[in-house]
Symmetry: none
Amino acid sequence: MSMNADIWKDLIIKNNSKIVFLIMDGLGGLPMPGGDKTELETARTPNLDKFAAEGISGLLDPVYPGFTPGSGPAHLALFGYEPVDFNIGRGVLSALGVDFELTGRDVAARLNFCTIDQDGKVTDRRAGRISTDKNKELCEKIRRNVKLSGEVEYFLETESEHRAVLVLRGDGLGGKINDTDPQETGKKPFDPEGEDDASRNAAKYVADFLKQVKELLKNDHPANFILARGFAKHEQFPSMEKRYGLRSVAIAQYPMYRGLARLVGMTVPPVPADFDEMWNQLKNNYDKYDFFFVHFKKTDSYGEDGNFDAKVKMIETVDGWSAKLRELNPDVLVVTGDHSTPALLKTHSWHPVPALLWSKKMYARTDSVTEFGESACRRGNLGRMPMKNILLIAMANAERFKKFGA
Amino acid sequence: MSMNADIWKDLIIKNNSKIVFLIMDGLGGLPMPGGDKTELETARTPNLDKFAAEGISGLLDPVYPGFTPGSGPAHLALFGYEPVDFNIGRGVLSALGVDFELTGRDVAARLNFCTIDQDGKVTDRRAGRISTDKNKELCEKIRRNVKLSGEVEYFLETESEHRAVLVLRGDGLGGKINDTDPQETGKKPFDPEGEDDASRNAAKYVADFLKQVKELLKNDHPANFILARGFAKHEQFPSMEKRYGLRSVAIAQYPMYRGLARLVGMTVPPVPADFDEMWNQLKNNYDKYDFFFVHFKKTDSYGEDGNFDAKVKMIETVDGWSAKLRELNPDVLVVTGDHSTPALLKTHSWHPVPALLWSKKMYARTDSVTEFGESACRRGNLGRMPMKNILLIAMANAERFKKFGA
């Protein structure tokens, strides 16, 4: 069975309950060589342990066992969206990642500055990984000099190093355009071609854009051209309010996660400067919303850096922060990550993510787990299950579902 | 993947093995405030504990994690039917609930006696919850006075209080008819309208029936009209014998469960007067069938009453009863519930249901669980899984499946 919103839409109850999702990005980990504890198991987390002891724990698979998810699908799973059905185009995800507010008339693509030789063949797909500053300078130069004809606007935004984002905005633009990136050196970039009328229309503008950029940068080095991939038309997903009856707000510092929250219709207050401001945003919005997505990024960043100790410390910081949640006393609290980022691997991984669900009314049928960690979670009553289930279980504990069938 | 009978139909082996499902309705529970044990964990269950110690245990999700199932979908899951695909119309379930034997020519609906004012607007959707006796009296009055023209018969059966069941029987009747219940007071009931030709045909008879009832009851009070909802055409599901090669018998005291068993083609002997007669029915039918559905209701009823202690006692009674199963020595015994009904919540709930599977030949790969209870089950080898799997696992342990693929 593929579970979808059609099945539960008539079961939704609206009430005054509050559901808080406290998300540590890349939370799941692995022991380092010679060790036997993950980052989370190493961290001193008295507050999260108490929530775990009072609630139920488990291990969540963001997409499917064995699959390493990107941030997009992992967060969609947290929000209860089947991450395989709700596919976010790479270009769109990149635009979200630079905090670009997409509209329904936009087609986005991920760009790389690259180096081509006199025959037009790619010699370096990343232009020697130019600096972010250089990238900004080039983008500014392009914006000043490259103009599209007709009714189509473009936006060009620096991501970092050689990476940038292109957004075309206009009526009747399609996103089914091939990558121009040949994926290897010694080959010429492909011409952009559309699969259908709307995409052919958009591809025409992309071709014009690329032609002008090539001319403009011909004397630059090493970045003298760009490669595009992941073209995608932006489409708003059905909102959290529509799918679940949950008025939702996102408290997050990083653009990607703010963008993902917007994609599912959450309200996104201004960027909080620090963790205190995150707390204030949560508190100040508490009466106005039903669902609170609170996102801490640095657990993932330290994992990506391979910095086990810094990830441990960051988890301890969030543990301290989480103690204040007792003041708000939400109906349901879920603490988990979007995916695993073990410092050992320095990248996202396929490992299921530790999770705890705490319910104010103790409806969660507590288990014997008394600490928040991967091995302990495995023994908990949540079991091992798809991440997309956790929102439904949280809603059940918040008494937001009627009975299915008589 | 959606698992269905097409996948296993060529794998079925018929043999002389016996599979017993001992079902305690609403078995799963929660600790009461201040306690730390559920009803099942509180009950003294030496016999079930022994089966658990010798077999494997787990937690089953009737429909989907977070979903609270009605009795219909929950039992279909126990019988291995995907409960979202095999949807039972509410009218049909109500008819099953009053032990009405439906045929393939029947359309059923759930009725409420209600109160309307002089303008025909509903002032009480439940007519002050009239007594069951009053309901019976009104049904008798209607049966005597209301006649349908043409080739269509109707049956009217009291359920309880203000609730009754209407069945139309005839050729070419469809069940796609809107609810006439406006769901709020101050509004007139809706007219019945059919979605397709067959349903329009049936709606015509419903309209005639309602018109006559309105005239007949105009001087009654408070019940002076009826509201109808959940119209559904009765359709027989593929039988247990067809799907699994299992000749199946249901030993159950309550109409709803007898009806559900009939819906999947089980033989249903006369209502057993008590638990001893349930035992005799099991024993006397033992040679004639392969699959035995034995249903105890009161665990659920006491849960619905919020009577923790009575539910505990009822579980202990069933535990005593289960000791006799050693005499029959079935090939496979499954003990579980159809859903959870914690006394704390006084209603069905979303919590997964404790289950044990015991195999005579000890093929079940026993685990470390030595007691039958929610938290212990979680640590068992069945893990946490959809309830619809349990029948297939039981069949495997009864050596009733060939290898899938070479």
